[in-house]
């Protein structure tokens, strides 16, 4: 049920691609020209993770997003409610090459990660962070605007999906309430 937030609606294909291709095919950067993509590639950070290595932990401060170049990332949510044991974790989804996650931290101030991301195999990620975005906006504002427009679209889409899901759950709750004598 929770996986709809993390599912990538913008996935192109799962084949392994090199970093520039991954950036070109990422929904956020689709509108960028070749020159702008090369500039972006000089700005982002490529990180490699071993199987089982944590990319980020739920509740940690986050400053940006990751795009999967190769490998896979599993997303978990830790449920520390009174009803569940403190160490209970809920598997949410598995993301593969071309998918991206953590984009909310790019614009939110003092953003905290809402889930834990763990590499499930040897994984290569492109990290794109707030200082990088600010640098692009400062040095190439036109490129920055293109990225921000797409980022707005992605966040809008996530919000729309969340609103739909909340409405659905409310209807479900109402229906259950009516059934209960």
């Amino acid at each position: 049920m929770i996986s709809y937030i993390w599912d990538n609606y913008f996935r192109k294909d799962s084949a392994e691609r090199n970093e520039l291709e991954v950036l070109r095919n990422c929904y956020l950067f689709e509108t960028l020209s070749k020159k702008e993509l090369r500039f972006l590639k000089e700005t982002v950070h490529v990180r490699t993770y071993r199987p089982g290595e944590i990319v980020f932990r739920q509740g940690e401060l986050g400053i940006g997003m990751y795009i999967i170049v190769r490998g896979a990332i599993e997303i978990f949510i830790e449920t520390n409610t009174p009803e569940t044991p403190s160490d209970a974790t809920l598997f949410v989804t598995r993301l593969v090459s071309g998918d991206f996650f953590g984009e909310l931290s790019l614009i939110e101030n003092n953003s905290r990660r809402t889930a834990t991301a763990i590499a499930s195999e040897e994984t290569s990620l492109i990290g794109f962070f707030k200082p990088d975005l600010m640098d692009i906006v400062d040095r190439q504002p036109a490129t920055g605007v293109k990225i921000l427009m797409r980022l707005g679209e992605v966040l809008g889409r996530r919000l729309k999906e969340t609103t739909l899901k909340v409405s659905e759950l409310k209807r479900e709750l109402k229906r259950l309430g009516e059934k209960t004598p």
Binding site: R50, G52, I54, I63, G64, F76, E78, F129, D135
Partner: protein
Amino acid sequence: MKPTARQLELRRLNRLRLIGIIVILITLLVIILAVENLLVSSLLAFVIAYLLGPLVNYLERNGANRVGATVLVFAAAAIVLALVALGVFPYIGNALAGLQTEAPKYISGFSKLTQDGENRFSEVLGPISNSIHPTQYIESTLTSWTQNFFDQLPKFLKQFFTVMLLGPFLAFFMVKDGRSILRNLLGIVPNNTFEAALSLLHQINQQVGSFVRARLLEALIVGFVTWVGLALIQFPFAILLGVFAGLTNLIPYIGPVIGFVPALVIGLVNGLSSVDLALLILVYLIAQVIDVVFLIPVVVAKIVDLHPVTVIIVIIAGSQILGVLGMIISIPVAATLKVTIGTIYRHVTESRA
């Protein structure tokens, strides 16, 4: 989520990598401190990079590529500096030569002033003051200082030109390749501390950049106002005193007082009338009023606040380690340390919150 055995092993490897990076950074720091002129050149390079970086970004925003924009800005800055040097150096040279010739006059004049003071002191206190003879001590100290200053001048000029060549050279590469150098440096940071390190570097860069630009602009305006004011009242060595007032203004609290002392000594020795003395004080007061009323609230608002006691301790420590240069750079260094420690502390506490 409990860490698995593999994750614990990865954590251990990450810790080792972090220790490796700290060792590399400490080694770099030791090299900078050990190699002659490298510390001052690096500091100058940072100052130049923080000043010219925004201009390069501006050109890049308007379509220029990074390399071209950096070359253009540095070339323009070099031409402007060369023109200023051509105009100002002969003037400063003449002023220094004049000062060297007239130094004995000022020392003896100053000694006469202290002698007069001592005589008056004796008249009031009588035999008690016979054991106190400050004039002789002041005269010998001032003579030795002046002698040392002019003896050390060729060595100082050699160091000055080395730093003036090395500083801009380092600054050029800092502006042109700074981002890729930082990116490569961040590349060796372990995954678990990478985001924190990037965020920390960004915050330090922003705050130190604003700090350096604001303080230099403040010093430039105070120096310029002092120079113009002294020139208007036709006071000798106006440009030298203006440059000195601007530089000493970088030292908080006591800087403006230090900046005023040479002008006061020159004025007293030349036997200024009370009106001229009032005008001299007025020039320095106007410069300080402009600084306190306009520059500090508007331009220097981003400066990190340090407690007055901390400032005094830091200045004394700076002067003990690096002399006058230490006094000037002690506050920016302390402010940088405060920002760094504060950011690391915030990151650690907020991450655990």
